[in-house]
Symmetry: D2
Subunit: 133 residues, 4 copies
């Protein structure tokens, strides 16, 4: 499973007075695709947190090329770009009917309940590694 | 101390494509004033949660009369309208230079760590009662 | 068509440190259902705005009974409760697998491009009236 | 005027169930500082839009090092890093009492009313150039 695509429709409250989707919301949409990609790989993030681990965003970058408008149906795709024992990198595209609106990349570190960086649990690490190019 | 007024400036991301502040954000602004009012009464909400209690919104109502625009400096006022051992009611106004934009009211229930409704701690209850008309 | 139900999954960014969905987001979810209900009736809100009209929320009230958690799949239902020439009232429920989390009600006024209250266009009014109990 | 610092307090709705501020909100806070920096330079963004120009974010990157918590008072600093006739780059730090939480950078392009990239108005360009290292 190279990547996962989810669809989301731009909400009214996600627009701003420029008449387009506000730039910060793309990070939220990327997370929707990341969560679904992990779920399809067999890692439900909700369970991951209940086991006492979290993935905290340590870096994010976005490149916006076209605007998204209210009520647009967007295709958001996520895939794993790099996996280490303590850090994973996801990449994303946000598209509308084949037109690229945005590319993005986030690095996430694995933390324990005390918010200390730790190695990911072996089963999760194995799944992620096997899905990374 | 009958009420507390805080100022907040409408953020770009709080506007929508109608060119005005999106209606859901008024609840956020009301919370800013509520938190400051409690802080001035001597109840820092952050400490309240650390003691194992929370105040969860159980009812909210808003009446919007004029729009708020990007970069507007708003005056948000909160006061206690009713206090019971398990439930408190705050009321609010959102104004811009004397013009009334919105009135609101929220009821909050006191919950413990297990999210069960409980009586408020006596010291907090006493403070709130003494500040209620 | 008495009502329309949409499904939405609670996003991570919609939770707060209480571990539940933040109360202001319910207004956003209600809007998702309202928009879809109008779309199914034949009134695409996007087109409505392009014709020079808007529906601005003038009153909102919410009653929260149970919390929504991260990743919960919610069913949000909207229906028309009252229709006048200048004002429409929608009501809502937010449920999770049959359990009621929240009921809500919003009144919306029809505005023209200059943000003046106006009568709704006759075709839209007729559609809405025919769908109201 | 090398840079401008604004203070903002982490709102309850800006936290997530990890108990820290959700990562997307840092972009909102950066904008608060950017807007104030421009205002102090003499360019009120609100007026800039009324003249028919906008600045749209074309790239954003953030590096998170420490978490922000509910009710934390943050210092957000913005400065101009690069200025061209059609594109400006701002850089940012988000700090809490001297501890660095995040560094960020956004590139913005100047658009006209039709969302076409255009040269910035000469007076604004001159102001920005004179404030850039």
């Amino acid at each position: 499973m190279a990547s996962t695509t989810v669809e989301t429709r731009v909400r009214y409250g996600e627009t701003d007075q420029m008449g387009v989707a506000y730039h910060a919301h793309y990070l939220v949409w990327c997370e929707l695709a990341r969560t679904e990609h992990m779920r399809r790989l067999g890692v439900r993030y909700r369970d991951f947190e209940e086991r006492g681990f979290k993935l905290a965003v340590s870096e994010a970058s976005l490149r916006y090329s076209r605007s998204a408008h209210y009520d647009d149906l967007l295709q958001v795709t996520a895939w794993l770009a790099e996996v280490g024992s303590r850090l994973v990198v996801f990449e994303y595209t946000v598209e509308r009917d084949g037109a690229l609106l945005c590319t993005a990349r986030t690095a996430l570190v694995c933390l324990n309940r005390d918010n200390k960086p730790v190695r990911m649990p072996p089963d999760v690490l194995a799944i992620m590694e096997s899905s990374t190019p």
